[in-house]
């Protein structure tokens, strides 16, 4: 039986190889997992079925950080893929190493036309060099929002989801007064509480315009409005209008929200699809992340991941990769991603077309494009283009460990953020020393 099976398998394999003999193969390593990983795999299947010249071999790597780690190991052994899906925090080293093929150049070299101006500036700026050349191809894009329980809000007499922190605090107090035991389900997140917060308030995370203008960068977040914000959150936790909800504490913020235990939680718009799938038994909606009164709101920046083309591959592989990237950028394929995830469109034309079709007027997509409002609130400023910091992953980890220590009452929030910044600065100094004489392109 086993013997017969293996013969059949071999025959099938041989047939498959023969059929694909003429197709030029290229590899693509991606980090998304679960349902989203399946969406990536499906884009590959669709691409392979759509034309006869190239074949994308797509390999899931079980998480963004593992995708980058594995690619580095493979790269050092000369066995890396042509395409890598990488998250923002993992790319500073790649940018400085120069071991990538900027997609603007790739498309020009392979004769694929892309309307780069069609990309939303909040997304384009994040993934491109100072001269406006795209390093990597934006694909699965998101930005943070907050999710709220409409029924709880109505019961507490809140008619409109506030877009200021002062307003949100009042809402949380009103929720508590209405008998709601858990208002805000809070989980500390450097991406939301530090990075995106600093963007929309137009305050720096670090010097050198958040690291864009040089490697001799120092963190500044312990001197900005961010400190007051974290102190406020700490106060909300003490006052009981917010509750700590993390995996380690027993339940995630999203689960607390979906179960109707807590009324509000902050997360990426990518969770919009997940929350919908979990079918909460109450009415809910999303709102852009608040700003403090008296601050002129700016755009938030893109999160998620982008696709990098790595150096050292053959021309045929590059042509295949270019074709795949162009395929992903079409309206049809963007829409496929949006329908199967909570991500947002990356080009203006796709967004406009979807609006015209009434895509965002029907469930489950209603109001999901509020993320676009946040992302395109203003033209990006020097401080809201994004963040270019080496050791970003450790900086986020330092921030989290210190903020948790402050929440546990081990130190004041100011002390915690000072320590996090000082330790982060050591990382930045090491990074600058590692890449002495280089600068971000």
């Amino acid at each position: 039986m086993t013997f017969k099976l293996s013969i059949t398998a071999m025959a099938l394999l041989a047939a498959a190889t023969a059929a694909n003999a003429e197709k030029a193969k290229f590899e693509y390593w991606y980090g998304l997992t679960g349902d989203l990983g399946a969406v990536v795999a499906e884009t590959c299947n669709r691409f392979n079925a759509s034309q006869a010249d190239y074949e994308a071999v797509c390999v899931g790597q079980d998480g963004y950080d593992k995708a980058v780690q594995n690619t580095i190991a493979a790269f050092r052994a000369g066995k890396h893929p042509a395409l890598l899906q990488s998250f923002d925090a993992g790319t500073a080293d790649l940018m400085l190493s120069g071991e990538f093929y900027p997609v603007t150049k790739l498309m020009a070299d392979t004769g694929v036309t892309v309307d780069w101006a069609d990309y939303f500036p909040g997304i384009a700026n994040y993934y491109s060099s100072k001269s406006g050349e795209f390093f990597s191809m934006p694909w699965n894009s998101s930005t943070p929002v907050y999710y709220f329980n409409k029924d709880h809000f109505a019961k507490a007499g809140i008619t409109e989801a506030p877009i200021t922190w002062e307003g949100l605090e009042q809402a949380l107090v009103a929720l508590k007064d209405s008998g709601q035991a858990c208002g805000l389900a809070y989980a500390p997140s450097a991406w939301i509480d530090l990075e995106q917060f600093s963007m929309v308030h137009n305050v720096p995370v670090a010097s050198n315009n958040n690291g864009y203008d040089g490697l001799d960068t120092e963190l500044l977040f312990n001197t900005t409005l961010h400190v007051k914000h974290m102190e406020n959150i700490q106060r909300w936790l003490t006052d009981g209008v917010a509750m700590m909800r993390t995996q380690a504490a027993g339940k995630t913020a999203r689960d607390s929200f979906v179960e109707g235990e807590c009324s509000v939680f902050f997360s990426s718009i990518a969770d919009h699809n997940t929350v919908h799938k979990l079918k909460p038994t109450f009415g809910w909606d999303v709102q852009i992340i608040p700003t403090y009164e008296g601050v002129e709101r700016k755009n938030s920046v893109v999160g998620g991941a982008s696709l990098w083309v790595l150096s050292g591959k053959s021309e045929a592989e590059y042509k295949g990769a270019a074709a795949y990237l162009a395929f992903l950028a079409t309206k049809e394929q963007q829409q496929f991603l949006l329908e199967n995830s909570g991500y947002i469109p990356v080009t203006k034309s796709t967004y406009d077309a979807l609006l015209a079709e009434g895509f965002y007027a029907k469930e489950p997509y209603i109001n999901r494009d509020i993320a676009m409002k946040s992302l395109t609130w203003s033209e990006p400023t020097e401080l809201t283009r994004g963040i270019r910091l080496g050791g970003m992953i450790q900086i986020r980890a330092e921030w989290l460990a210190e903020v948790e220590a402050a929440f546990a009452g081990q130190k004041t929030m100011q002390e915690a953020l000072d320590t996090a910044a000082a330790r982060g600065n050591e990382q930045l100094a090491r990074f600058a020393q590692t890449y002495a004489g280089k600068s971000f392109p």
Binding site: F75, D93, S97, A248, K251, G391, A397, A401, E404, Q427
Partner: protein, 293 residues
Amino acid sequence: MRRAYFKFSWIAAALLAPQLLIVFVFFYWPSAQALYWAFTLEQPWGGGNTWVGFDNFRKVLSDAYYWSSVRVSVIYALATTVLAMSMALTLAIFVDRQLAGYKAYRVAIIWPYAVAAPAVGLAFQFVFNPGAGLFSYINTIAPGWWDLSKYPWQAVTAIVIAGAWKQVAYSFVFFLAALQSIPRSLTEAAAMDGARPLRRMMDLQLPLLTPTFFFLLVINITDSFTDSFGIVDTLTGGGPFRATDLMVYKIYADGFRGFDYSGAAAQSIILMLLVMALTFVQFRYIERRVHYT
């Protein structure tokens, strides 16, 4: 002391070669690479490195958080070793005395060793999770008392228990084998002289077990320094606020997650030296008390 001498033979060399090659490729080569990286700043994507001398070591050793990581690693190693070995010995003595049900758990006790560390961590999540685990029952009586994300000592206790649980199996097998190799005539003679089971254990079996005991001590301590990664990663993630940031976990977090290859290499070298020093101390001072028959 008797020593054995062997003549050099090509056959012996040929038979040893594959093993030596494996040791070289998977141990000496990476160690040498790590040693080199520890003195440089290595760019993850290749493209060269800068020689920085002892900078990486200075940075690590002058970091107060690193020392607390060393401290918790030592606590973890000692606590898991003591806990695992005492549980293993107790169980082995029960099995050796063929108490009721020994056949069933002789097999059952060996299983945990076959479970991968991350799986152990996940399994213990269901035990220790303050919201949904077995320990959440404590919280229904005293709300908020058990919370791994808040109280460092609870997080450390959790990883120690999970780590010890995994180690028990290995020690158990060795203890049982050692107990069963004690000649029946000795135990019987002691019994005829009127020694009861507890007395026989204290005066006869335990002294005869010392070589096994010593071997397991060395292995368990080494193992708990190097094999704790999976448990920490799935159970606590190094938190709360670095309380369970064991040395080996910090190496992973800095090196692989944070791309600081050189800092991680320096930490690996320090960890290696620490384990070697501990093993040396054990051989130097504890082995004296061991009687090989």
